[in-house]
């Protein structure tokens, strides 16, 4: 620091602590609320300290049923979310790494046209073409299925760009050396390229996992059978109770459970997460 003023540093700490506190406030309230008995929300306010129903509430939501409108335990939804998130992540990385490989290491007719087609997917997020995409899925008979949840979301221009960028920085001599040693393109890909892009793959994995886990609109419109519900979208059916009698304590448990896996990933792999975030926006 230029001037060493203890009070100004103290002020900085104070403002940061207030910021951290405000950012954490909604989660704190939900955490406290999730330990309350059902009736405690009718009395006019949310209690601000823990109740004694924590274990019962969490166990009920996880293993019995998520709420009165959702007669399915949350562990099942958790599993669906995991299948969807991993399917999207692995699918995206797999198809974009091989297409980036083709675009960088081969020369073939229509190469740039293909690149532009992939680029166009950036301009067509699900949100803007929602009705026709639903109709396509309905025509393909993929409503209420894991493939319907996963496949439409695995085309990714971002991942393809990232791998292209990363591959273009690899010196041509490496390819030459591999060819002189008799390695074909498949061998080069598995023995040299994949090990070299390990950190990039890991960083992208973190970002894509969060993206896949947090999908909301897509599962909402293509699943009507609650055995295919994902955790994040199921919150909607817990909130839209006909007579407005929402089971707040169960809603809070479900919300916390739904945000826990991606938050754990971000906190646990912060370095990779930051790298993935910065790379993905380059």
């Amino acid at each position: 620091m230029i001037e060493n003023r203890p009070w100004s540093r103290l002020l900085s700490h104070l403002i940061l602590i207030i910021g951290v506190f405000i950012v954490a406030l909604p989660v704190w309230v939900a955490l406290v609320g999730s330990t309350q008995p059902e009736g405690s929300f009718n009395s006019g306010s949310i209690p601000l300290w823990f109740g004694d129903q924590g274990v019962q509430n969490w166990a009920h939501v996880l293993f019995a049923e998520a709420g009165s409108t959702l007669q399915i335990p949350v562990w099942h939804l958790l599993l669906n979310s995991l299948v969807m998130a991993l399917g999207i992540t692995i699918g995206k990385i797999a198809i974009s790494i091989i297409s980036a490989y083709a675009i960088v290491f081969f020369r073939f007719p229509f190469r740039s046209a293909i690149f532009w087609v992939i680029f166009m997917t950036l301009m067509l997020p699900v949100e803007v073409r929602i009705v026709p995409t639903y109709q396509v899925i309905a025509n393909l008979d993929m409503l209420n299925s894991y493939s319907g949840l996963i496949l439409p979301l695995i085309a990714s221009a971002t991942a393809t760009f990232l791998f292209r960028q990363c591959f273009m920085s690899i010196p041509g001599e490496l390819v030459e050396a591999a060819r002189i040693d008799g390695a074909g393109p498949i061998r080069f890909f598995f023995d040299i390229l994949l090990p070299m892009s390990r950190t990039n793959i890991a960083a992208l994995f973190v970002i894509m996992f969060i993206y896949g886990w947090n999908q909301y609109l897509w599962p909402l419109i293509i699943t009507t059978d609650d055995t295919y519900y994902t955790l994040v979208m199921s919150i909607k059916s817990m909130l839209s109770v006909p007579d407005g009698d929402i089971q707040w304590n169960y809603v809070m448990v479900t919300t916390l459970l739904a945000m826990l896996p991606p938050v754990a990933v971000v906190v646990g792999m912060q370095k990779l997460f930051v790298k993935g975030l910065v790379d993905a926006e380059k």
Binding site: L124, V128, P132
Partner: protein, 291 residues
């Protein structure tokens, strides 16, 4: 790269999976949207009639569409502005402290991982007129809070929910930007007698302008297209359309109103907006605003 593999068929095989997915799930529906925008379906979905540009004419004569545009603008710029301002302030503070920077980063970064839909639920609970502690606190100091009836309050609620998780993102980029500014520049200004306030506005802020501009575009894109969950779990566009953004309106008109032609016409307009924003993002960020 100047050395390539000589195979002729292999590269096609490698790009095939991505092309197939793109064609089936992106190009086909986008084409359908273009077609549907020129047709009108009857209420039972039994017959279609070619109507030319009528869907677009209807759309641009619909006062509700203009209202939704204004709502989207107010929402998006509020989210972008609030998110950038708060994150910049926190990042400047974090850049100033010597110890604990990483701790603060960890404590501020996790909301990025929370789905927009869940962020909506969390803040919805805090502001619920019956049980929310913040709403009850506001009531006590004389500000009657009820986002079920008051459109402006509903807007404030969705802006806060949507901004919350974006602060993490902006904070990371600002902190990285701040740490890339050479210390010698700031030292020189300090020797010349510039106060810390003046140093910030005359040196630090201009040097951060590429980051700020980049974040502005990213935040606008986020507010436009990725906040469906926030609105659907909270206000569902209401009360009286006061939080009905363009993306939410496409969904509502298509799935609840069953007006496929009108919804498709809105999709086309949105695709044009995304296209424009993508071009801006690539054009200007590659060149970067520099001093």
């Amino acid at each position: 790269m100047s050395v390539y593999f000589p195979q002729k068929k292999l590269p096609y095989l490698l790009v095939l999976p991505q092309l197939v997915i793109t064609a089936i799930f992106f190009l086909w529906p986008a084409g359908q949207a273009v077609l549907q925008a020129f047709y009108r379906e009857d209420a039972f979905g039994l017959s279609q009639q070619f109507v030319g540009l009528e869907n677009f004419v209807d759309l641009f004569q619909d006062p509700l569409y203009y209202k939704s545009m204004v709502v989207t603008m107010v929402f998006s710029f509020s989210v972008a502005f609030l998110g950038i301002a708060v994150a910049l302030w926190l990042a400047v503070m974090a850049d100033r402290v010597i110890r604990g920077r990483m701790v603060y980063q960890t404590l501020l970064v996790w909301p990025y991982a929370v789905a927009p839909a869940l962020a909506g639920v969390l803040w919805w609970i805090l502001f619920d007129p019956n049980i929310g502690p913040v709403a009850l606190f506001l009531d006590r100091i004389g500000l009657h809070w009820n986002h079920f009836l008051n459109g402006d309050q509903a807007m404030i609620l969705v802006v806060i929910s949507a901004t919350w998780k974006q602060i993490s993102y902006n904070f990371l980029f600002f902190l990285a930007g701040l740490q890339a500014i050479p210390r010698s520049l700031i030292e020189a200004a300090a020797i010349d007698g510039a106060s810390s306030f003046k140093r910030f506005w005359d040196i630090v802020f201009p040097l951060l302008s590429p980051t700020t501009f980049f974040l502005l575009v990213v935040n606008l894109v986020y507010a436009f297209f990725e906040t469906f969950g926030v609105i659907d779990t909270t206000t569902q566009g209401g009360p009286d359309g006061s939080t009905n953004t363009l993306v939410y309106k496409v969904f509502k008109d298509g799935f609840i109103g069953l007006d496929s032609g009108g919804s498709a016409a809105q999709s086309i307009v949105l695709m044009a907006i995304v296209g424009l924003m993508t071009v801006i993002q690539f054009r200007f960020i590659e060149r970067k605003v520099q001093y």
